[in-house]
């Protein structure tokens, strides 16, 4: 597959770019932050996403969606990143949709229409500790009657309190550390025994700590196979990871462009600060890192779309590289803005905060570099 966007993809990018910059630029994010919005995003905007067709990008055509791939989802995510647009796109339209592809028709019919309409929000509950370690999942689902009883604690459930349904990864067999024996469940927000503690994160997005205290679900709530949830979870996670990488390419690019603009406008010592070679070299190096991140992300998206056997390694490398490059972009961004970079009024700091959350979401750069090493046999 070519490493350049085709005409349709360029059109999608242009319309996503126009949409985000006019409907949900950084000022939109700031507004919702300042009013202390309990969702951390605007439901009205989620509806607009649906009208633009964005929410159905990954939903198969047979299910009423656009049937497009990770390259297309990534195009939208990059614009989301560039504008710091708060939305449930990554969790709902990317990670959850990808998992639901493994669900039976009844469940797909239950959730896809709401996603396509921009009504439904779905969260994913994977992590159980401060760091992302999906293989260590310890939440238990025990057979009970014709269904299951789930108990455990989850955290970093992004937009959990706003979700209509939460995809919960729990253990139906085996012990923490094993990839066999996991099962994914669709858990309704109103389920008895489900409780949540929501917190605002550094980037002003919302995430919940979720307690499952004997939550009863029927057998219909299982997504994929009982005990065979690892493959569905991998699919969900890879979609989420390459999606987060794409969003970070957007966040990093936004921060970088803003910084380069500042270098061409701010004067000190009677010169534009962009004339200083010390800053030029760092700028050029940063540009190279961001370009490499963009490239590996596109490569990983292509490979996922092709079902390539090494896709997982490239996704891990993309999440790691995009994380490192985006992090460099926001750090250089704040530094090169001087005192201005430390002010809340100026946007660069918002990019730094968003980067921190995205880097942590679905595993940080160190975790994924470690996975790359393992997949290379060391």
């Amino acid at each position: 597959m070519a490493m350049i966007l085709n005409d349709d993809q360029v059109m999608l990018r242009d319309s996503a770019r126009d949409f985000m910059t006019s409907e949900a630029p950084v000022s939109h994010m700031r507004k919702y932050r300042d009013m202390g919005c309990k969702d951390g995003f605007a439901h009205g905007l989620w509806k607009q996403f649906a009208e633009m067709g964005f929410t159905g990008i990954l939903i198969p055509e047979a299910d009423g969606g656009m049937g497009m791939g990770h390259v297309e989802a990534g195009i939208v995510l990059e614009e989301i990143g560039r504008n710091l647009t708060p939305s449930p796109f990554l969790t709902t339209a990317v990670a959850a949709v990808e998992a639901l592809k493994a669900a039976d028709k009844a469940m797909r019919d239950r959730w896809y229409p709401g996603i396509l309409a921009g009504d439904a929000v779905i969260s994913v509950a994977i992590d159980e500790a401060a760091k992302h370690r999906p293989e260590k999942i310890n939440a238990r689902a025990e057979r009970s009657g014709n269904g299951f009883k789930i108990s455990g604690a989850k955290q970093f459930v992004v937009q959990g309190a706003s979700a209509d349904m939460i995809i919960v990864a729990a253990r139906t067999a085996g012990a923490a550390g094993e990839t066999d024996g996991l099962t994914l469940f669709a858990v309704d927000k109103d389920s008895a025994g489900l409780s949540m503690d929501s917190a605002r994160l550094v980037d002003s997005s919302m995430a919940a700590q979720v307690k499952l205290d004997g939550v009863e679900v029927t057998a219909d709530a299982v997504i994929g196979d009982v005990d065979g949830g690892w493959s569905v979870l991998t699919r969900l996670l890879d979609a989420g990871r390459v999606g987060a990488a794409a969003e970070m390419v957007g966040v990093g690019s936004g921060a970088m462009d803003m910084t380069f603009g500042y270098l061409k406008q701010r004067k000190q010592f009677d010169r534009l600060i962009g004339e200083f070679q010390a800053l030029q070299h760092r700028a050029a190096h940063l540009y190279g890192e961001m370009e490499a991140a963009r490239s590996i992300t596109l490569k990983a998206q292509n490979m996922l779309d092709e079902g390539h056997k090494h896709a997982e390694q490239y996704v891990a490398a993309a999440k790691a590289k995009a994380g490192l490059a985006c992090n460099l972009a926001v750090r250089e961004g704040v530094q090169m803005h001087g005192g201005m970079g430390m002010t809340d009024e100026y946007d660069i700091g918002l990019y730094m905060k968003r980067d921190r959350s995205l880097n942590e979401f679905f595993g940080d750069a160190w975790y994924h570099a470690d996975r790359v090493a393992q997949m290379n046999g060391y």
């Binding site: 070519a2 490493m3 350049i4 380069f260 270098l263 061409k264 010169r271 534009l272 962009g274 004339e275 070679q277 030029q280 070299h281 700028a283 050029a284 190096h285 540009y287 190279g288 370009e291 490499a292 991140a293 963009r294 490239s295 590996i296 596109l298 490569k299 390694q313 490239y314 490398a317 993309a318 790691a320 590289k321 490192l324 750069a365 160190w366 994924h368 570099a369 470690d370 790359v372 090493a373 290379n376 046999g377 060391y378």
Partner: protein, 386 residues
């Protein structure tokens, strides 16, 4: 079957038929690299056969037009041919500065006569070229170069000195920057070609830290160069020189993506359990290496479709060479004290430390990393200032 798949099948069959078994084993050292030229000593009959057969088929320069010794392949076909060669493990039939550097410049700036003459010689591996750019006082600031060609009607008389001229002592001809107008810095340089056996040309090898002497000081003492041996217009050699540098940087950047840690060899894997910090460095290197390879792929796709920024090869050169230096630092760290041996049999004459030291030149030759960053900042990022 698509045309491309038909071509793949044909290319594969041709390679299987024509590539000698010995040429399908990895090169063991620099000696296994075929450079061609009048004085080249072939390592084996197979090495010569392989070069000659490829030359006859146009496969030493597959994407050049047939009239100039190529096979006239499209970019897509060339890529397929390279994939098939890699699949069979074929060595490169012929390496040369003629192919990588002078060729592209001649294709763009040469006269029809020059193209037919010089390009065919390059394609057949008959003439080996060297590059006379740098001078003792002019490295990064190349345009300040002083080697002077005095106009004598139907020829120039060239006097001056070049330095760091790779393989000058082995090359047959030189493409050389010569000042033909002392009053104009940028538009006072001409791009001349001449035979290294011309009276007045002498070379003196320089020993490198890697222990080899691949490059020389090159002296010109009243060297006569006929007027038809100029590429491009008089005093406009800087345009040719810069265009050629673009290709050179692209070529050097390609070395960065040779392979990840898996290409370093498998033996180290067991020991890494005891070396968590080194293992982490390897993992981050692998991430960067995968990213660099994807970056190179994307760059080529954008280049072919005219979407790449004209100065982009400077960025690739910077990224690729810095990555390659990192790779060899890791090779040395993994090798530990065994990688220190300089000439023992079991280390194939200190292959690791010599290769490691050689890579330090990657970010100097063809323009330093600092100069690459200058160019990226100014031309791509459009940073202000002189």
């Amino acid at each position: 079957m698509s045309d491309l798949e038909t071509f793949r099948a044909e290319a594969r069959a041709w390679l299987e038929e024509n590539c000698p078994a010995e040429m399908r084993t990895p090169a063991r050292s620099d000696d296994d690299v075929c450079w061609g030229g009048r004085n080249f000593v072939f390592q084996s009959e197979a090495q010569k056969q392989w070069m000659d057969r490829c030359a006859a088929k146009g496969y030493t320069v597959p994407d050049w037009p047939k009239a100039y010794g190529g096979a006239g392949l499209s970019a897509a076909e060339t890529k397929v041919l390279r994939q098939e060669m890699a699949r069979l493990g074929c060595r490169s039939p012929l390496n040369s500065f003629g192919i990588w550097m002078l060729g592209p410049a001649l294709l763009k700036f040469g006269t029809e006569e020059q193209k037919v003459h010089y390009l065919n010689q390059i394609a057949r591996g008959e003439i080996r070229w060297c590059q006379g750019y740098s001078e003792p006082g002019s490295g990064s600031d190349l345009v300040s170069m002083q080697t002077f060609g005095e106009d004598k009607g139907d020829h120039w008389v060239v006097n001056g000195q070049k330095i760091w001229t790779s393989y000058a002592d082995k090359a047959d001809w030189i493409f050389c920057l010569v000042r033909t107008d002392k009053t104009n810095k940028y538009q006072g340089i001409s791009f001349l070609l001449f035979d290294m056996t011309t009276p007045g040309v002498t070379t003196k090898p320089i020993l490198l830290i890697s222990g080899s002497s691949p490059f020389c000081e090159t002296f010109f003492d009243n060297v006569v160069v006929p007027k038809d041996q100029i590429v491009g217009e008089l005093n406009r050699g800087w345009d040719v020189a810069k265009y050629l540098l673009g290709h050179e940087r692209e070529m050097i950047s390609g070395m960065g993506g040779d392979g990840g840690t898996s290409a370093i060899g498998g033996a180290f894997k067991e020991m890494l359990g005891e070396e968590p910090v080194l293992r982490a460095q390897m993992a981050l290197f692998d991430v960067d290496n995968l990213a660099f390879r994807a970056h190179g792929e994307r760059f080529m796709d954008e280049w072919k479709t005219g979407k790449a920024h004209p100065a982009y090869s400077n960025l690739m050169k910077y990224a690729g060479t810095e990555l390659n230096k990192r790779r060899h630092e890791l090779v040395m760290a993994l090798g530990g004290s065994e990688a220190l041996e300089w000439d023992s049999e079991r280390t194939r004459g200190g292959a690791k430390p010599r290769a490691w030291l050689r890579t330090k030149a990657n970010s100097i030759e063809g323009g330093t990393s600092e100069v690459m960053l200058n160019v990226v900042a100014k031309r791509i990022l459009e940073m202000p200032g002189a």
